[in-house]
Symmetry: C2
Subunit: 221 residues, 2 copies
Amino acid sequence: MDNYPPTARTKVRRLPKRASYDRLAVHGILDEGFVCHVGFAVDSQPYVIPTVYARADETLYVHGSAASRMLRTLTQRVPVCITVTLLDGLVLARSAFHHSLNYRSVVVIGNARLVDDPEEKLRALHWITDHVAPGRWQQVRAPNALELKQSSVLALPLAEVSAKIRSGPPVDDEADYSLPIWAGVVPVTTQLGRPIDDGRVAAGAPEIDLARFTRFAPRIR
Amino acid sequence: MDNYPPTARTKVRRLPKRASYDRLAVHGILDEGFVCHVGFAVDSQPYVIPTVYARADETLYVHGSAASRMLRTLTQRVPVCITVTLLDGLVLARSAFHHSLNYRSVVVIGNARLVDDPEEKLRALHWITDHVAPGRWQQVRAPNALELKQSSVLALPLAEVSAKIRSGPPVDDEADYSLPIWAGVVPVTTQLGRPIDDGRVAAGAPEIDLARFTRFAPRIR
């Protein structure tokens, strides 16, 4: 199945031509982001909290520490929305109205469960660590039992999912193209800089190798 | 008043040493971001949608087009959460557990109102446009009456606000510092690239001048 079937809750209503339900497009966006924003409600007040995550096949694992407010109320599955947004460009049109951004975003809704099986939690922490810093997990000290207990992870199935993508130049009203106004796109990229060690790296430690961060390889300065 | 008074809903409970309620710190984060994530609930299902915004004094104005799902239900003030997150670095520790991100985030909660006064809406669109592309508003064609009507803007007062900030190197368990593992920070920055015109720029149009995008000046490649 190559598409996530749109539901009444995930069907994009505003500018539906920008919508995508394509599984590979969704995976690509989720796998490129560093941070997701988790939305949940407590006493009908929404909260939106940034945190780290990883996709494993058709499950999104989210580091729960940032959402302590949610976890306190999480005795069973809780409705959440997890959104990942990648900003690609500022779209500068000739009219204020047609200004826009180039972006790729994914919205996942559903009921999150708290991962309490220690083996699944350990696997999820592995994926989350390697999602942010590929290959890192096997280079570092693994969590001990206490650390594992102190960590919290949520799981959300990739079932109700939509992506929204805008790319390319501005689209102006035909009459505006004659105006003497520059129009186009200012690209926006996320860049990794030169690593800064913490001043206490033990002798013999291998250098950090950003080339392992393959998804970012073309972007390393 | 230099601080936003923490409330039961904005008091940071997880890692409170990272919390800030300082007005200038909050303003700085809001003014640097491009995109916010707006959280709202429809039939107790949270949604989190990225959109553009601007701060004007102690009000956050949010472009409402992305939140058509919310606006359909917005007959009066609606509880929302607006979060802006700036990612500054990957924090690579010697233990998996102490991995982190350096980031600056602001969470604003409260009841948003739909801006229906045309003059306030026009001012808000001006601020939102100039927030993304400083100085742009006065260079481009202003919205006509129909475009203004088709635009929607939400306003949220900066009243219940908290910031959360992590910076600096990883903090490892003392026993782990002897491990032969590189540890430190990989900086992450948002960069503007060389502008790409849309191929239809009229003769005589001045070049786009990214130096006007002053907040990003040090980051332009």
